[in-house]
Protein backbone atom coordinates (compact mmCIF):
# COMPACT_ATOMS: atom_id res chain seq x y z
CA UNK A 1 0.00 0.00 0.00
CA UNK A 2 1.31 3.41 -0.98
CA UNK A 3 2.12 5.85 1.75
CA UNK A 4 -0.33 8.68 1.95
CA UNK A 5 0.07 12.31 2.91
CA UNK A 6 -2.92 14.22 4.30
CA UNK A 7 -3.08 17.95 3.81
CA UNK A 8 -5.74 18.99 6.27
CA UNK A 9 -6.92 22.52 5.76
CA UNK A 10 -8.60 24.70 8.40
CA UNK A 11 -10.04 28.15 7.96
CA UNK A 12 -9.08 29.38 11.39
CA UNK A 13 -5.96 29.17 13.54
CA UNK A 14 -7.94 28.21 16.64
CA UNK A 15 -9.62 25.35 14.77
CA UNK A 16 -6.22 24.04 13.71
CA UNK A 17 -4.94 24.38 17.23
CA UNK A 18 -7.89 22.44 18.68
CA UNK A 19 -7.54 19.79 15.98
CA UNK A 20 -3.79 19.45 16.60
CA UNK A 21 -4.37 19.01 20.35
CA UNK A 22 -7.07 16.45 19.75
CA UNK A 23 -5.09 14.44 17.20
CA UNK A 24 -1.87 14.52 19.20
CA UNK A 25 -3.74 13.34 22.29
CA UNK A 26 -4.83 10.33 20.22
CA UNK A 27 -1.20 9.55 19.49
CA UNK A 28 -1.14 10.95 15.97
CA UNK A 29 2.00 12.75 14.88
CA UNK A 30 1.52 16.02 13.05
CA UNK A 31 4.42 16.29 10.63
CA UNK A 32 4.16 19.93 9.65
CA UNK A 33 1.92 22.97 9.87
CA UNK A 34 1.77 25.68 7.22
CA UNK A 35 0.22 28.96 8.31
CA UNK A 36 0.08 32.59 7.15
CA UNK A 37 1.33 33.80 10.54
CA UNK A 38 2.86 32.29 13.68
CA UNK A 39 0.30 30.41 15.77
CA UNK A 40 1.31 30.96 19.36
CA UNK A 41 1.27 27.90 21.56
CA UNK A 42 1.32 25.42 18.69
CA UNK A 43 5.00 24.47 18.93
CA UNK A 44 4.84 22.36 22.12
CA UNK A 45 1.66 20.66 20.87
CA UNK A 46 3.24 19.38 17.66
CA UNK A 47 6.62 18.80 19.29
CA UNK A 48 8.74 21.64 17.96
CA UNK A 49 11.69 22.47 20.15
CA UNK A 50 12.76 25.98 20.95
CA UNK A 51 15.18 27.41 18.41
CA UNK A 52 18.79 28.07 19.41
CA UNK A 53 19.22 31.07 17.12
CA UNK A 54 19.51 33.47 20.05
CA UNK A 55 22.49 31.50 21.36
CA UNK A 56 24.03 31.66 17.87
CA UNK A 57 23.57 35.40 17.84
CA UNK A 58 25.30 35.74 21.21
CA UNK A 59 28.25 33.68 19.95
CA UNK A 60 28.52 35.72 16.76
CA UNK A 61 28.39 38.92 18.80
CA UNK A 62 31.17 37.63 21.10
CA UNK A 63 33.24 36.86 18.01
CA UNK A 64 32.62 40.45 16.88
CA UNK A 65 33.79 41.80 20.25
CA UNK A 66 36.94 39.67 20.13
CA UNK A 67 37.73 40.67 16.54
CA UNK A 68 37.22 44.36 17.29
CA UNK A 69 39.53 44.15 20.31
CA UNK A 70 42.11 42.39 18.19
CA UNK A 71 41.67 44.90 15.36
CA UNK A 72 41.92 48.03 17.48
CA UNK A 73 44.97 46.61 19.25
CA UNK A 74 46.66 45.78 15.94
CA UNK A 75 45.78 49.00 14.09
CA UNK A 76 46.26 51.46 16.93
CA UNK A 77 48.92 49.90 19.17
CA UNK A 78 50.89 47.09 17.58
CA UNK A 79 51.35 47.87 13.89
CA UNK A 80 51.78 51.64 14.26
CA UNK A 81 51.10 53.21 17.63
CA UNK A 82 49.34 56.43 16.91
CA UNK A 83 50.36 59.60 18.65
CA UNK A 84 47.34 61.86 18.93
CA UNK A 85 47.86 65.27 20.52
CA UNK A 86 50.96 64.00 22.34
CA UNK A 87 49.07 61.04 23.76
CA UNK A 88 50.57 57.95 22.17
CA UNK A 89 48.82 54.60 22.19
CA UNK A 90 51.35 52.41 23.99
CA UNK A 91 48.83 50.01 25.46
CA UNK A 92 45.41 48.95 24.33
CA UNK A 93 43.84 49.20 27.78
CA UNK A 94 44.69 52.89 28.19
CA UNK A 95 42.80 53.69 25.03
CA UNK A 96 40.05 51.15 25.49
CA UNK A 97 37.34 53.73 26.34
CA UNK A 98 37.85 55.31 22.92
CA UNK A 99 37.41 51.92 21.28
CA UNK A 100 34.16 51.05 23.04
CA UNK A 101 31.90 52.54 20.34
CA UNK A 102 33.60 50.54 17.59
CA UNK A 103 33.63 47.38 19.72
CA UNK A 104 29.93 47.76 20.42
CA UNK A 105 29.01 48.47 16.81
CA UNK A 106 31.08 45.59 15.48
CA UNK A 107 29.59 43.19 18.02
CA UNK A 108 26.09 44.19 16.96
CA UNK A 109 27.10 43.92 13.31
CA UNK A 110 28.37 40.36 13.72
CA UNK A 111 25.55 39.29 16.06
CA UNK A 112 22.81 40.55 13.75
CA UNK A 113 24.23 39.45 10.42
CA UNK A 114 25.53 36.12 11.70
CA UNK A 115 22.12 35.27 13.09
CA UNK A 116 20.30 36.46 9.97
CA UNK A 117 22.51 34.34 7.70
CA UNK A 118 22.14 31.31 9.98
CA UNK A 119 18.38 31.83 10.03
CA UNK A 120 18.13 31.91 6.24
CA UNK A 121 20.39 28.89 5.81
CA UNK A 122 18.63 26.79 8.46
CA UNK A 123 15.23 27.64 6.98
CA UNK A 124 16.46 27.00 3.48
CA UNK A 125 14.92 30.33 2.50
CA UNK A 126 17.36 31.75 -0.01
CA UNK A 127 17.03 33.73 -3.24
CA UNK A 128 15.60 31.58 -6.00
CA UNK A 129 14.39 28.76 -3.76
CA UNK A 130 11.03 27.29 -4.81
CA UNK A 131 8.06 27.55 -2.46
CA UNK A 132 7.03 24.30 -0.78
CA UNK A 133 3.70 25.15 0.80
CA UNK A 134 1.09 22.59 -0.35
CA UNK A 135 -1.53 25.21 -1.15
CA UNK A 136 -1.09 28.90 -2.08
CA UNK A 137 -3.86 29.81 0.35
CA UNK A 138 -1.62 28.99 3.32
CA UNK A 139 0.08 32.37 2.98
CA UNK A 140 -3.31 34.09 2.90
CA UNK A 141 -6.04 32.89 5.27
CA UNK A 142 -5.90 29.10 5.41
CA UNK A 143 -3.99 26.78 7.74
CA UNK A 144 -2.74 23.38 6.65
CA UNK A 145 -1.64 20.47 8.78
CA UNK A 146 0.47 17.79 7.12
CA UNK A 147 0.06 14.25 8.44
CA UNK A 148 1.57 11.17 6.82
CA UNK A 149 0.81 7.50 7.21
CA UNK A 150 4.56 6.99 7.34
CA UNK A 151 4.81 8.70 10.72
CA UNK A 152 1.80 7.01 12.23
CA UNK A 153 0.87 3.45 13.01
CA UNK A 154 -2.70 3.81 11.83
CA UNK A 155 -4.04 2.75 8.47
CA UNK A 156 -4.93 5.47 5.95
CA UNK A 157 -8.66 4.97 6.47
CA UNK A 158 -8.41 5.12 10.30
CA UNK A 159 -6.27 8.21 10.07
CA UNK A 160 -8.72 9.84 7.69
CA UNK A 161 -11.63 9.08 10.00
CA UNK A 162 -9.85 10.69 12.95
CA UNK A 163 -8.88 13.72 10.85
CA UNK A 164 -12.41 14.18 9.55
CA UNK A 165 -13.70 14.20 13.12
CA UNK A 166 -11.97 17.59 13.55
CA UNK A 167 -13.37 20.84 12.16
CA UNK A 168 -11.82 20.35 8.71
CA UNK A 169 -12.32 22.90 5.95
CA UNK A 170 -10.79 20.85 3.14
CA UNK A 171 -8.86 17.58 2.99
CA UNK A 172 -6.42 16.55 0.26
CA UNK A 173 -4.97 13.08 0.26
CA UNK A 174 -2.06 12.21 -1.97
CA UNK A 175 0.15 9.20 -2.51
CA UNK A 176 3.85 9.67 -2.22
Amino acid sequence: MANKVFHVMYDDDQKLMDAAKSLVSQGIRVKEVFSPFPIHGLDPVIGIKRTRLAICSFMYACTGTALSILGTWYFMVSDWNWNIGGKPNFTWIENAPAFVPVMFEFSVFCGAHGMAITYLLRNGTLPGMPASNPDPRTTDDKFVMEITTDDNHLSASDLEAKIRATDVYELNIKDY
Binding site: P36, M76, V102, F104, F106, F109, Y119, T139
Partner: protein, 458 residues
Protein backbone atom coordinates in the same frame (compact mmCIF):
# COMPACT_ATOMS: atom_id res chain seq x y z
CA UNK B 1 -3.92 33.84 23.84
CA UNK B 2 -3.35 37.49 24.55
CA UNK B 3 -6.48 39.30 25.68
CA UNK B 4 -6.92 43.00 25.18
CA UNK B 5 -9.36 45.02 27.25
CA UNK B 6 -12.56 46.00 25.49
CA UNK B 7 -12.06 49.49 26.84
CA UNK B 8 -9.20 49.93 24.41
CA UNK B 9 -10.27 51.14 21.01
CA UNK B 10 -9.67 48.62 18.22
CA UNK B 11 -6.49 48.81 16.14
CA UNK B 12 -8.06 47.27 13.05
CA UNK B 13 -11.33 48.93 12.13
CA UNK B 14 -14.22 47.36 10.26
CA UNK B 15 -15.16 43.72 9.89
CA UNK B 16 -11.93 42.34 8.55
CA UNK B 17 -10.98 38.72 8.07
CA UNK B 18 -7.53 37.28 7.49
CA UNK B 19 -8.29 37.19 3.78
CA UNK B 20 -9.38 40.84 3.79
CA UNK B 21 -6.04 41.90 5.27
CA UNK B 22 -4.17 40.12 2.46
CA UNK B 23 -6.47 41.53 -0.21
CA UNK B 24 -6.31 45.07 1.12
CA UNK B 25 -2.55 45.05 0.72
CA UNK B 26 -2.04 42.81 -2.29
CA UNK B 27 -4.81 44.11 -4.56
CA UNK B 28 -3.33 47.61 -4.89
CA UNK B 29 -0.01 46.00 -5.90
CA UNK B 30 -1.69 43.86 -8.55
CA UNK B 31 -3.93 46.63 -9.86
CA UNK B 32 -3.08 49.71 -11.89
CA UNK B 33 -1.22 52.51 -10.14
CA UNK B 34 -3.51 55.24 -8.74
CA UNK B 35 -3.40 58.60 -10.49
CA UNK B 36 -2.22 60.40 -7.34
CA UNK B 37 0.71 58.00 -7.10
CA UNK B 38 1.73 58.71 -10.70
CA UNK B 39 1.59 62.47 -10.13
CA UNK B 40 3.54 62.16 -6.86
CA UNK B 41 6.30 60.00 -8.29
CA UNK B 42 6.67 62.23 -11.34
CA UNK B 43 7.25 65.27 -9.14
CA UNK B 44 9.54 63.34 -6.79
CA UNK B 45 11.51 61.92 -9.70
CA UNK B 46 12.06 65.33 -11.28
CA UNK B 47 13.33 66.69 -7.95
CA UNK B 48 15.47 63.56 -7.53
CA UNK B 49 17.00 64.07 -10.97
CA UNK B 50 17.93 67.60 -9.99
CA UNK B 51 19.50 66.18 -6.83
CA UNK B 52 21.47 63.60 -8.80
CA UNK B 53 22.64 66.42 -11.09
CA UNK B 54 23.87 68.36 -8.06
CA UNK B 55 25.64 65.26 -6.71
CA UNK B 56 27.48 64.80 -10.01
CA UNK B 57 28.33 68.48 -10.09
CA UNK B 58 29.84 68.34 -6.58
CA UNK B 59 31.80 65.19 -7.42
CA UNK B 60 33.03 66.90 -10.61
CA UNK B 61 34.04 70.31 -9.31
CA UNK B 62 34.50 69.66 -5.60
CA UNK B 63 32.97 71.05 -2.44
CA UNK B 64 34.15 74.55 -3.28
CA UNK B 65 30.73 74.74 -4.91
CA UNK B 66 29.23 74.82 -1.41
CA UNK B 67 29.06 77.96 0.69
CA UNK B 68 31.75 76.77 3.12
CA UNK B 69 34.64 79.06 4.02
CA UNK B 70 37.67 79.19 6.31
CA UNK B 71 35.53 79.78 9.41
CA UNK B 72 32.44 77.74 8.61
CA UNK B 73 33.86 74.42 7.50
CA UNK B 74 30.75 72.42 8.30
CA UNK B 75 27.31 73.70 7.39
CA UNK B 76 24.40 72.35 5.36
CA UNK B 77 26.17 69.09 4.54
CA UNK B 78 26.46 67.96 8.15
CA UNK B 79 23.12 69.57 9.02
CA UNK B 80 21.46 67.46 6.34
CA UNK B 81 23.39 64.37 7.40
CA UNK B 82 22.28 64.62 11.04
CA UNK B 83 18.74 65.53 9.97
CA UNK B 84 18.39 62.47 7.76
CA UNK B 85 19.97 60.09 10.27
CA UNK B 86 17.64 61.48 12.92
CA UNK B 87 14.61 60.87 10.73
CA UNK B 88 15.71 57.30 10.30
CA UNK B 89 15.59 56.67 14.03
CA UNK B 90 11.81 56.54 14.30
CA UNK B 91 11.70 53.46 12.08
CA UNK B 92 13.99 51.47 14.36
CA UNK B 93 12.28 52.81 17.44
CA UNK B 94 8.89 51.71 16.15
CA UNK B 95 10.01 48.30 14.97
CA UNK B 96 12.50 47.44 17.70
CA UNK B 97 11.79 49.36 20.89
CA UNK B 98 8.02 49.10 20.57
CA UNK B 99 8.37 45.39 19.78
CA UNK B 100 10.25 44.88 23.04
CA UNK B 101 7.53 46.81 24.87
CA UNK B 102 4.91 44.65 23.15
CA UNK B 103 3.12 47.66 21.69
CA UNK B 104 0.68 46.22 19.18
CA UNK B 105 -0.09 49.51 17.50
CA UNK B 106 3.35 49.47 15.93
CA UNK B 107 2.33 46.60 13.61
CA UNK B 108 0.44 48.82 11.17
CA UNK B 109 3.22 51.35 10.87
CA UNK B 110 6.49 49.49 11.39
CA UNK B 111 6.97 48.33 7.79
CA UNK B 112 6.75 51.78 6.24
CA UNK B 113 8.67 53.33 9.15
CA UNK B 114 11.52 50.86 8.58
CA UNK B 115 11.49 51.61 4.86
CA UNK B 116 11.72 55.26 5.78
CA UNK B 117 14.71 54.48 8.02
CA UNK B 118 16.57 52.75 5.23
CA UNK B 119 15.93 55.44 2.65
CA UNK B 120 16.73 58.20 5.16
CA UNK B 121 20.06 56.59 6.10
CA UNK B 122 20.97 56.28 2.40
CA UNK B 123 20.24 60.01 2.01
CA UNK B 124 22.27 60.76 5.13
CA UNK B 125 25.26 58.85 3.78
CA UNK B 126 25.34 61.04 0.66
CA UNK B 127 26.55 64.06 2.64
CA UNK B 128 29.65 62.80 4.48
CA UNK B 129 30.63 60.88 1.34
CA UNK B 130 30.46 64.05 -0.74
CA UNK B 131 32.16 66.05 1.99
CA UNK B 132 35.18 63.80 1.66
CA UNK B 133 35.78 65.63 -1.62
CA UNK B 134 37.17 62.56 -3.31
CA UNK B 135 34.27 60.14 -3.04
CA UNK B 136 36.23 57.44 -4.84
CA UNK B 137 38.51 57.30 -1.79
CA UNK B 138 35.61 56.70 0.60
CA UNK B 139 36.86 53.18 1.29
CA UNK B 140 39.88 54.71 3.03
CA UNK B 141 37.65 55.03 6.09
CA UNK B 142 37.73 51.23 6.39
CA UNK B 143 40.68 49.46 8.00
CA UNK B 144 41.83 47.75 4.81
CA UNK B 145 45.39 46.55 4.22
CA UNK B 146 47.00 49.14 1.99
CA UNK B 147 50.15 50.07 0.15
CA UNK B 148 50.44 53.49 1.79
CA UNK B 149 52.61 52.24 4.63
CA UNK B 150 51.04 51.44 7.99
CA UNK B 151 48.13 53.73 7.32
CA UNK B 152 45.15 52.76 9.40
CA UNK B 153 42.07 54.82 10.23
CA UNK B 154 42.06 56.50 13.63
CA UNK B 155 39.84 54.51 15.94
CA UNK B 156 40.07 57.24 18.59
CA UNK B 157 38.10 59.59 16.37
CA UNK B 158 34.36 60.10 16.69
CA UNK B 159 34.18 60.41 12.90
CA UNK B 160 35.58 56.88 12.63
CA UNK B 161 33.04 55.64 15.18
CA UNK B 162 30.42 57.18 12.95
CA UNK B 163 31.55 55.12 9.96
CA UNK B 164 31.02 51.97 12.01
CA UNK B 165 27.79 53.20 13.59
CA UNK B 166 26.10 54.28 10.38
CA UNK B 167 27.15 51.25 8.35
CA UNK B 168 26.06 48.87 11.13
CA UNK B 169 22.82 50.76 11.58
CA UNK B 170 22.04 50.74 7.88
CA UNK B 171 22.87 47.10 7.28
CA UNK B 172 21.13 45.82 10.43
CA UNK B 173 18.01 47.89 9.65
CA UNK B 174 18.01 46.52 6.13
CA UNK B 175 18.24 42.92 7.35
CA UNK B 176 15.57 43.48 10.01
CA UNK B 177 13.26 44.98 7.40
CA UNK B 178 13.88 42.30 4.81
CA UNK B 179 13.44 39.37 7.18
CA UNK B 180 10.02 40.78 8.08
CA UNK B 181 9.21 41.25 4.41
CA UNK B 182 9.94 37.66 3.31
CA UNK B 183 6.65 36.08 4.53
CA UNK B 184 4.68 38.99 3.10
CA UNK B 185 6.38 38.65 -0.27
CA UNK B 186 5.29 35.01 -0.13
CA UNK B 187 1.68 36.14 0.43
CA UNK B 188 1.90 38.34 -2.67
CA UNK B 189 3.57 35.54 -4.66
CA UNK B 190 0.81 33.09 -3.83
CA UNK B 191 -1.92 35.58 -4.65
CA UNK B 192 -0.43 36.33 -8.06
CA UNK B 193 -0.93 32.87 -9.52
CA UNK B 194 -1.23 34.07 -13.13
CA UNK B 195 0.44 37.40 -12.94
CA UNK B 196 3.57 38.40 -14.89
CA UNK B 197 5.05 39.77 -11.66
CA UNK B 198 4.83 36.40 -9.89
CA UNK B 199 8.40 35.48 -10.71
CA UNK B 200 9.65 38.75 -9.23
CA UNK B 201 7.90 38.14 -5.90
CA UNK B 202 8.88 34.50 -6.00
CA UNK B 203 12.55 35.49 -6.01
CA UNK B 204 12.01 38.12 -3.31
CA UNK B 205 10.17 35.67 -1.06
CA UNK B 206 13.16 33.26 -0.92
CA UNK B 207 10.82 30.25 -1.16
CA UNK B 208 9.07 31.04 2.14
CA UNK B 209 6.38 28.44 2.89
CA UNK B 210 5.18 29.35 6.39
CA UNK B 211 6.26 26.15 8.16
CA UNK B 212 5.72 26.06 11.93
CA UNK B 213 9.44 25.75 12.69
CA UNK B 214 10.22 28.63 10.35
CA UNK B 215 7.70 30.82 12.16
CA UNK B 216 9.30 29.95 15.49
CA UNK B 217 12.67 30.96 14.13
CA UNK B 218 11.15 34.05 12.54
CA UNK B 219 9.78 35.26 15.86
CA UNK B 220 13.02 34.52 17.67
CA UNK B 221 15.07 36.36 15.04
CA UNK B 222 12.70 39.33 15.16
CA UNK B 223 12.90 39.49 18.92
CA UNK B 224 16.69 39.16 19.09
CA UNK B 225 17.18 41.67 16.27
CA UNK B 226 14.86 44.05 18.12
CA UNK B 227 16.88 43.46 21.27
CA UNK B 228 20.15 44.36 19.62
CA UNK B 229 18.72 47.10 17.41
CA UNK B 230 17.46 48.93 20.50
CA UNK B 231 20.89 49.78 21.97
CA UNK B 232 22.07 50.25 18.39
CA UNK B 233 19.56 53.02 17.73
CA UNK B 234 20.61 54.81 20.90
CA UNK B 235 24.29 54.34 20.15
CA UNK B 236 24.06 55.62 16.59
CA UNK B 237 22.74 59.04 17.39
CA UNK B 238 24.90 59.25 20.50
CA UNK B 239 27.90 58.68 18.26
CA UNK B 240 26.61 61.25 15.76
CA UNK B 241 26.39 63.72 18.65
CA UNK B 242 29.96 62.81 19.68
CA UNK B 243 31.13 64.14 16.30
CA UNK B 244 30.46 67.46 17.98
CA UNK B 245 30.66 66.72 21.69
CA UNK B 246 34.22 65.32 21.59
CA UNK B 247 35.50 68.52 19.99
CA UNK B 248 36.47 71.59 22.05
CA UNK B 249 34.31 74.07 20.18
CA UNK B 250 32.10 76.14 22.55
CA UNK B 251 28.49 75.18 21.93
CA UNK B 252 29.49 71.66 20.88
CA UNK B 253 31.53 70.47 23.85
CA UNK B 254 28.63 69.40 26.05
CA UNK B 255 27.89 66.16 27.84
CA UNK B 256 24.14 66.58 27.31
CA UNK B 257 24.49 65.95 23.58
CA UNK B 258 23.93 62.16 23.33
CA UNK B 259 20.51 61.96 25.07
CA UNK B 260 19.52 65.29 23.58
CA UNK B 261 20.35 64.11 20.05
CA UNK B 262 18.63 60.76 20.50
CA UNK B 263 15.36 62.31 21.68
CA UNK B 264 15.60 64.91 18.92
CA UNK B 265 16.07 62.12 16.41
CA UNK B 266 13.00 60.25 17.60
CA UNK B 267 11.07 63.51 17.64
CA UNK B 268 11.89 64.35 14.02
CA UNK B 269 11.56 60.72 12.91
CA UNK B 270 8.04 60.42 14.24
CA UNK B 271 7.15 63.69 12.55
CA UNK B 272 8.37 62.29 9.22
CA UNK B 273 6.46 59.04 9.82
CA UNK B 274 3.32 61.14 10.34
CA UNK B 275 3.95 63.08 7.13
CA UNK B 276 4.39 59.90 5.10
CA UNK B 277 1.65 57.82 6.70
CA UNK B 278 -1.02 60.50 6.60
CA UNK B 279 -0.55 60.67 2.83
CA UNK B 280 -0.11 56.92 2.37
CA UNK B 281 -3.20 55.85 4.33
CA UNK B 282 -5.29 58.14 2.16
CA UNK B 283 -3.80 57.23 -1.23
CA UNK B 284 -3.58 53.49 -0.49
CA UNK B 285 -6.93 53.44 1.37
CA UNK B 286 -5.45 52.06 4.59
CA UNK B 287 -7.66 54.00 7.00
CA UNK B 288 -8.89 50.77 8.61
CA UNK B 289 -5.34 49.83 9.65
CA UNK B 290 -3.68 53.18 10.27
CA UNK B 291 -6.37 54.97 12.22
CA UNK B 292 -6.71 57.78 14.73
CA UNK B 293 -5.41 55.61 17.54
CA UNK B 294 -2.08 55.21 15.76
CA UNK B 295 -1.91 58.90 14.89
CA UNK B 296 -2.66 59.89 18.47
CA UNK B 297 -0.04 57.55 19.92
CA UNK B 298 2.58 58.94 17.57
CA UNK B 299 1.60 62.48 18.55
CA UNK B 300 2.06 61.51 22.19
CA UNK B 301 5.58 60.31 21.38
CA UNK B 302 6.16 63.62 19.59
CA UNK B 303 5.09 65.66 22.59
CA UNK B 304 7.22 63.60 25.00
CA UNK B 305 10.37 63.74 22.87
CA UNK B 306 9.68 67.36 21.93
CA UNK B 307 9.51 68.26 25.59
CA UNK B 308 12.76 66.41 26.31
CA UNK B 309 14.36 68.40 23.50
CA UNK B 310 12.93 71.61 25.00
CA UNK B 311 14.38 70.79 28.41
CA UNK B 312 17.73 70.07 26.75
CA UNK B 313 17.73 73.48 25.02
CA UNK B 314 17.06 75.25 28.31
CA UNK B 315 19.60 73.13 30.17
CA UNK B 316 22.42 73.90 27.77
CA UNK B 317 21.49 77.57 27.92
CA UNK B 318 21.60 77.50 31.72
CA UNK B 319 24.85 75.53 31.85
CA UNK B 320 26.54 77.91 29.42
CA UNK B 321 25.91 80.71 31.94
CA UNK B 322 26.51 78.57 35.03
CA UNK B 323 29.83 77.27 33.69
CA UNK B 324 31.34 80.72 34.02
CA UNK B 325 33.28 80.17 30.82
CA UNK B 326 32.89 83.33 28.77
CA UNK B 327 33.43 81.58 25.43
CA UNK B 328 30.75 79.06 26.26
CA UNK B 329 28.37 81.83 27.40
CA UNK B 330 29.07 83.84 24.30
CA UNK B 331 28.33 80.89 22.00
CA UNK B 332 24.83 80.75 23.41
CA UNK B 333 24.24 84.50 23.66
CA UNK B 334 25.29 84.65 20.02
CA UNK B 335 22.82 81.89 19.19
CA UNK B 336 19.77 83.73 20.41
CA UNK B 337 20.83 87.31 19.72
CA UNK B 338 23.51 87.14 17.00
CA UNK B 339 23.14 87.42 13.25
CA UNK B 340 21.62 83.92 13.05
CA UNK B 341 19.15 84.49 15.90
CA UNK B 342 16.28 84.06 13.46
CA UNK B 343 17.23 80.40 13.01
CA UNK B 344 17.42 79.90 16.79
CA UNK B 345 13.96 81.34 17.33
CA UNK B 346 12.60 79.40 14.39
CA UNK B 347 13.95 76.23 16.05
CA UNK B 348 12.49 77.20 19.44
CA UNK B 349 9.06 77.93 17.98
CA UNK B 350 8.87 74.81 15.84
CA UNK B 351 10.35 72.32 18.32
CA UNK B 352 9.46 73.54 21.78
CA UNK B 353 6.43 75.77 21.64
CA UNK B 354 4.25 74.41 18.84
CA UNK B 355 4.32 70.65 19.80
CA UNK B 356 2.85 71.66 23.18
CA UNK B 357 -0.43 72.17 21.34
CA UNK B 358 -0.67 68.39 21.21
CA UNK B 359 -1.70 68.45 24.86
CA UNK B 360 -5.17 69.21 23.50
CA UNK B 361 -6.84 65.94 22.54
CA UNK B 362 -8.82 67.66 19.83
CA UNK B 363 -5.65 68.81 18.13
CA UNK B 364 -3.67 65.59 18.46
CA UNK B 365 -6.56 63.63 16.97
CA UNK B 366 -6.97 66.05 14.07
CA UNK B 367 -5.46 64.69 10.87
CA UNK B 368 -4.94 68.05 9.17
CA UNK B 369 -3.38 69.60 12.27
CA UNK B 370 -1.12 66.57 12.73
CA UNK B 371 0.05 66.83 9.13
CA UNK B 372 0.72 70.54 9.52
CA UNK B 373 2.64 69.95 12.77
CA UNK B 374 4.68 67.13 11.26
CA UNK B 375 6.00 69.54 8.65
CA UNK B 376 6.66 72.20 11.30
CA UNK B 377 8.61 69.74 13.45
CA UNK B 378 10.72 68.64 10.50
CA UNK B 379 11.54 72.24 9.67
CA UNK B 380 12.33 72.89 13.34
CA UNK B 381 14.63 69.89 13.61
CA UNK B 382 16.52 70.89 10.49
CA UNK B 383 17.06 74.31 12.09
CA UNK B 384 18.19 72.68 15.32
CA UNK B 385 21.12 71.06 13.51
CA UNK B 386 21.81 74.24 11.57
CA UNK B 387 21.85 76.27 14.81
CA UNK B 388 24.16 73.82 16.59
CA UNK B 389 26.56 73.56 13.67
CA UNK B 390 26.74 76.96 12.02
CA UNK B 391 26.10 79.36 14.90
CA UNK B 392 28.71 77.60 17.04
CA UNK B 393 31.50 78.00 14.52
CA UNK B 394 30.75 81.15 12.57
CA UNK B 395 32.18 83.31 15.36
CA UNK B 396 35.51 81.95 16.47
CA UNK B 397 37.80 82.98 19.35
CA UNK B 398 39.39 85.68 17.14
CA UNK B 399 36.89 88.29 15.95
CA UNK B 400 39.04 88.86 12.87
CA UNK B 401 38.20 85.31 11.78
CA UNK B 402 34.44 85.71 12.21
CA UNK B 403 32.54 84.75 9.12
CA UNK B 404 29.12 84.18 7.67
CA UNK B 405 27.70 81.22 5.87
CA UNK B 406 25.66 81.66 2.72
CA UNK B 407 24.19 78.57 1.11
CA UNK B 408 24.79 78.27 -2.63
CA UNK B 409 22.34 76.92 -5.16
CA UNK B 410 24.24 73.61 -5.00
CA UNK B 411 23.79 73.42 -1.22
CA UNK B 412 20.08 73.98 -1.66
CA UNK B 413 19.85 71.69 -4.69
CA UNK B 414 21.54 68.84 -2.84
CA UNK B 415 19.22 69.12 0.13
CA UNK B 416 16.04 69.41 -1.93
CA UNK B 417 17.38 66.70 -4.26
CA UNK B 418 17.82 64.20 -1.43
CA UNK B 419 14.22 64.85 -0.42
CA UNK B 420 13.26 64.02 -4.02
CA UNK B 421 15.32 60.81 -4.04
CA UNK B 422 13.88 59.84 -0.66
CA UNK B 423 10.30 60.33 -1.83
CA UNK B 424 10.97 58.49 -5.11
CA UNK B 425 12.27 55.49 -3.17
CA UNK B 426 9.41 55.64 -0.69
CA UNK B 427 6.80 55.88 -3.41
CA UNK B 428 8.31 52.89 -5.22
CA UNK B 429 8.22 51.00 -1.94
CA UNK B 430 4.57 51.90 -1.34
CA UNK B 431 3.64 50.72 -4.83
CA UNK B 432 5.47 47.40 -5.05
CA UNK B 433 6.14 46.27 -1.49
CA UNK B 434 3.64 45.17 1.18
CA UNK B 435 3.24 48.43 3.07
CA UNK B 436 1.81 46.77 6.15
CA UNK B 437 3.27 43.79 7.99
CA UNK B 438 0.56 41.32 6.90
CA UNK B 439 1.71 38.43 9.04
CA UNK B 440 1.95 40.57 12.15
CA UNK B 441 -1.41 42.29 11.63
CA UNK B 442 -3.10 38.91 11.30
CA UNK B 443 -1.79 37.91 14.73
CA UNK B 444 -3.58 40.85 16.37
CA UNK B 445 -6.82 40.66 14.38
CA UNK B 446 -8.62 38.58 16.99
CA UNK B 447 -7.43 40.67 19.93
CA UNK B 448 -7.55 44.16 18.46
CA UNK B 449 -9.90 43.86 15.47
CA UNK B 450 -13.16 45.82 15.75
CA UNK B 451 -15.58 42.99 14.97
CA UNK B 452 -13.81 40.52 17.29
CA UNK B 453 -13.80 43.09 20.09
CA UNK B 454 -17.54 43.59 19.69
CA UNK B 455 -18.12 39.84 19.81
CA UNK B 456 -16.02 39.60 22.95
CA UNK B 457 -17.94 42.34 24.73
CA UNK B 458 -21.26 40.46 24.58
Amino acid sequence: MFKESNLRKPLILGHKTYGDITNDIVNPIMGAAPKQWKIAITIAFIVALYGVGCIFYVVGVGIGSWGLNKTVGWAWDITNFVWWVGIGHAGTLISAVLLLFRQRWRMAINRSAEAMTIFAVIMAAVFPLLHMGRIWCAYWTLPLPNTLGSLWPNFNSALMWDVFAISTYFSVSLVFWYIGLIPDFASIRDKMTNHPMRKFYSILSFGWSGRAKHWTRFEEVSLVLAGIATPLVFSVHSIVSMDFATSIVPGWHTTIFPPYFVSGAVFSGFAMVQTLLLIMRKVMKLEAYINLRHIEYMNIVIIVTGSIVGVAYLTELFISWYSGVEYESYAFINRFSGPLAWSYWCMMTCNVISPQLFWFKKLRTSLSFTFFMSIIVNIGMWFERFVIIVTSIHRDYIPGAWGEFKATSIDIGLFIGTIGIFFTLFLLFSRYFPVLALNELKTILKTSGESYKKEGSH
